[in-house]
């Protein structure tokens, strides 16, 4: 008994010795302060890179990566690194990642969080640490009402796009019977609420689910309601499938949808003929000359992939931060005030970025355009007037 105990204790002691011999700290690298011209700073991208929602996140990450790579090419002596925080689109995973970003002194800015749900959880943590963020795609209106000093939104929120889509349906399409469908995501439901405020009572309303593939029930309802316009709040996969089945059933109306559908993939899913004539809104201006190089650069950098939704926004807002770093705003506080007072035009989107005190894009800058699907391409239709 004694002997055994002694042996065990001895074993434990030897183990502890070996462990402590091997144990040592990781190099934390040189401490990055807010010194002038600090190099090797990091910009974080926060969003889903794996999992179900990764399709949206990866494009935004690529936009950010492209901006940073271009910057590093021009400033090889003082690079900026990209640090990825893969939230998997799950709000439950967001806090630990946000804390990691906050704890890394080299991270001076965050592009993201990509979704509204994870923003609700991660933004308070960023706010506490004074780490500036610009989100390229979280469009829930309530995010800017929480007094987060670090919050900026690089796009118009649902309240800018929804009413515009409603006005387009009312004034341009002059539709008398409108059917509305949403996918119950925060984005889709929010958009539909805003549209309803403008068009009044719709001819009918239904909800579908993300990842649903069979829409026969909804199709029957839309057919029997006699609606000639369908507004869809949601993303491109469901929109494409729904429209395909709807047109297949002989429906002759027009579908109107928001920026979640404004993606080349929508035409792929629905098919060229089915998608023809669909109206897609976007709180962005149509392609400019500058946008042209963005598309070619993007394709060159990411094996010929078409830039997806918000890739261009990510690119532009990353450039804002890079400009700040270039100008010597290398601490979080300095970069935050730089972003707050920023006023410049984005190269890829053509939008003038100027933020209000609550972090929203200046409403004068939020231009909502209607795009039309024409011969397999999304082409600009008209700018939707503000009132």
């Amino acid at each position: 008994m004694r002997q055994k105990l002694a042996r065990v204790l001895g074993g434990v002691a030897i183990g502890a010795l070996v462990f402590s011999g091997a144990a040592c700290k990781a190099d934390s690298g040189s401490e990055a302060g807010g010194g002038k011209g600090a190099c090797d700073l990091k910009i974080g991208f926060f969003g889903p890179l794996t999992g179900d929602a990764a399709g949206l996140g990866i494009h935004m990450r690529n936009g950010t990566k492209l901006a940073i790579d271009q910057y590093n090419k021009d400033n090889a002596d003082c690079k900026v690194n990209l640090s990825e925080y893969d939230s998997q689109g799950d709000p439950a995973k967001a806090p630990a990642l946000a804390q990691q970003a906050v704890g890394d002194t080299k991270v001076v800015g965050i592009i993201g969080p990509a979704f509204s749900g994870e923003s609700e959880v991660a933004d308070p943590i960023f706010d506490e640490a004074g780490l500036p963020i610009i989100t390229p795609s979280a469009t829930r209106p309530s995010l800017s009402t929480k007094n987060w000093k670090i919050f900026h939104r690089g796009v118009g929120n649902d309240t800018s796009q929804g009413p515009a889509a409603g006005r387009y349906i009312k004034n341009v399409l002059k539709a008398d019977k409108v059917y509305v469908v949403d996918d119950q995501s925060a984005y889709g439901a929010g958009l539909v609420d805003e549209v309803k405020k403008v068009i009044g009572t719709p001819a009918g309303q239904d909800k579908i689910q993300v990842k649903q593939t069979n829409f026969s029930a909804v199709v029957t309802k839309i057919q029997s309601s006699g609606a000639n316009v369908l507004f869809f709040g949601g993303y491109y996969t469901e929109a494409g499938l729904l429209l395909k089945q709807l047109k297949g059933a002989g429906w002759k109306g027009t579908m109107v949808a928001g920026d979640g559908v404004n993606d080349a993939n929508f035409i792929k899913v629905a098919g060229e003929q089915v998608a023809e004539g669909t109206i897609l809104t976007c709180p962005c201006a149509p392609a400019t000359a500058a946008k042209g190089t963005f598309v070619t650069d993007y394709k060159a950098a990411f094996d010929n992939a078409e830039p997806g939704t918000y890739a261009d926004v990510s690119y532009d807002i990353t450039k804002i931060m890079l400009e700040g770093i270039k100008a010597g705003k290398t601490s979080r506080a300095d970069l935050l005030s730089f972003i707050n007072s920023y006023n410049g035009t984005g190269g890829a989107t053509g939008v003038t970025y100027k933020f209000e005190s609550n972090g929203e894009l200046d409403p004068a800058q939020v231009i909502v355009w209607a795009f039309k699907v024409n011969a397999g391409k999304v082409v600009p239709d008209i700018e939707i007037p503000k009132a």
């Binding site: 105990l5 144990a23 906050v102 749900g117």
Partner: protein, 384 residues
């Protein structure tokens, strides 16, 4: 065969552990608990690892905040411990366990958040017992009619229950406010020595300590239950329900108890989770998680509390740790993309070589060994 060697080794270790005098065992356990309490401090955990050449192989998570991951792991461990009562002790295959967790979290959110439809604005602490009660009562309500079912049928019913809650949360803008969720849930109370709130948003350590304390309390309770008449009744039900019924064990009553206790633990976990998260929506209660908790229990060793703890910890911690492995090996690949693959491989390998789990329950291990013997072709008996 590795399994036999393994078995021998673990049994030798077990024997040694059991042979040690009680004070020594107590001291060792106390040391482990202390270690767990100091684990999330950076001055401690940054030494957990070893250098390989110029690279540093860290055992802590390098891509996400270690204290935050520890809290999430602790949440998962407590869930596994609760599910172990249902699946491991009483042998009821419950696939909808996350439903109770969601109930606990949503109850707290509804009662406390100023943005909820209730608008009652309770403090967090007052809502916790209610959340536990709600989960427990739901366990009884769900268990009442369904516990007459067994095995796969029960699994399907419970699965339906969890999905019902999730779909209601996702599809209805009503009470649970759909995908928009319920924000602004208050934190647990308490002030630090510096006058700042103890439970803030940036530091995850207090939450982890709270969770760890809860785990210890729940462990004590469950251990006592398992070693009491109730626990023996559960084992009897698990081994052979009909025989237990005939021998006079009120099987239905004890099954319902197991279900309710498991649900209560899940409700408690959900309540703490909501207090840390401050925002919940249906995205956080996906079916995958339900299955993951069950996998954790089976992986660790159903019917064994130590096993449930180990299984829960590994199941949650490993994927989070994998995020940074690419950096460790010094190649640019994101191991987290393959987390499901890795997890699947681990489960398959485990089920082939150790179907009884990592830390098996003695009875169940014996059962598996018997089955294995049966599977070996017997010598043909010559005809008489």
């Amino acid at each position: 065969m590795t399994a036999t060697v393994d078995k021998k080794r673990t049994s030798v270790l077990k024997g040694r552990w059991a042979a040690m005098p009680k004070p020594v065992r107590m001291t060792a356990l106390a040391a482990l608990v202390v270690l767990l309490y100091i684990l999330p401090n950076k001055w401690f955990y940054e030494y957990l690892g070893f250098p390989i050449g110029s690279e540093y192989f860290a055992l802590y998570t390098t891509r996400s905040d270690f204290a935050g991951v520890l809290f999430d792991t602790a949440v998962f461990v407590l869930l596994a411990v609760g599910l172990n009562v249902v699946v491991g002790f009483a042998g009821l295959l419950d696939l909808g366990y996350f439903g109770f967790y969601a109930l606990g979290a949503y109850t707290v959110a509804l009662l406390t958040s100023p943005e909820s439809r209730f608008g009652t604005n309770w403090p967090w602490l007052a809502a916790v017992p209610i959340a536990v009660m709600v989960a427990m009562v739901s366990g009884v309500i769900l268990g009442g009619p369904t516990l007459r079912l067994r095995g796969d049928y029960l699994a399907i019913v419970t699965l339906g229950f969890a999905e019902m809650i999730r779909l209601y949360a996702a599809r209805q803008d009503g009470l649970l406010q759909g995908q928009r969720g319920i924000p602004a849930i208050p934190h647990p109370p308490g002030k630090g020595s510096d006058g700042k709130a103890l439970f803030g948003v940036v530091d995850a350590r207090p939450y982890y300590w709270l969770m760890l304390t809860l785990i210890l309390v729940v462990l004590l309770l469950i251990r006592n239950l398992a070693n009491s008449r109730v626990g023996r009744a559960w084992v009897a039900i698990r081994e052979d329900e009909d025989a237990a019924e005939i021998m006079g064990v009120p099987t239905f009553k004890y099954k319902l108890w197991a279900f309710a206790i498991g649900a209560a633990v899940a409700g408690l976990t959900g309540a703490v989770f909501a207090g840390k998260q401050t925002f919940i929506n249906s995205d956080q209660f996906v079916l995958e998680s339900s299955i993951l908790v069950l996998a954790a229990v089976i992986l660790g060793g159903a019917g064994n509390i130590k096993g449930a703890i180990l299984g829960g910890a590994i199941t949650w911690y490993l994927p989070e740790w994998l995020r940074g492995v690419g950096d460790l090996i010094g190649v640019n690949f994101d191991a987290a993309e393959y987390r499901i693959l890795v997890f699947g491989l681990v489960v398959i390998v485990m089920m082939i070589f150790r179907p009884q789990g990592m830390v098996p329950n003695r009875r169940r291990a014996a059962e598996f060994a018997d089955r294995r013997k049966e599977a070996v072709p017997q010598e043909t008996v010559p005809n008489e």
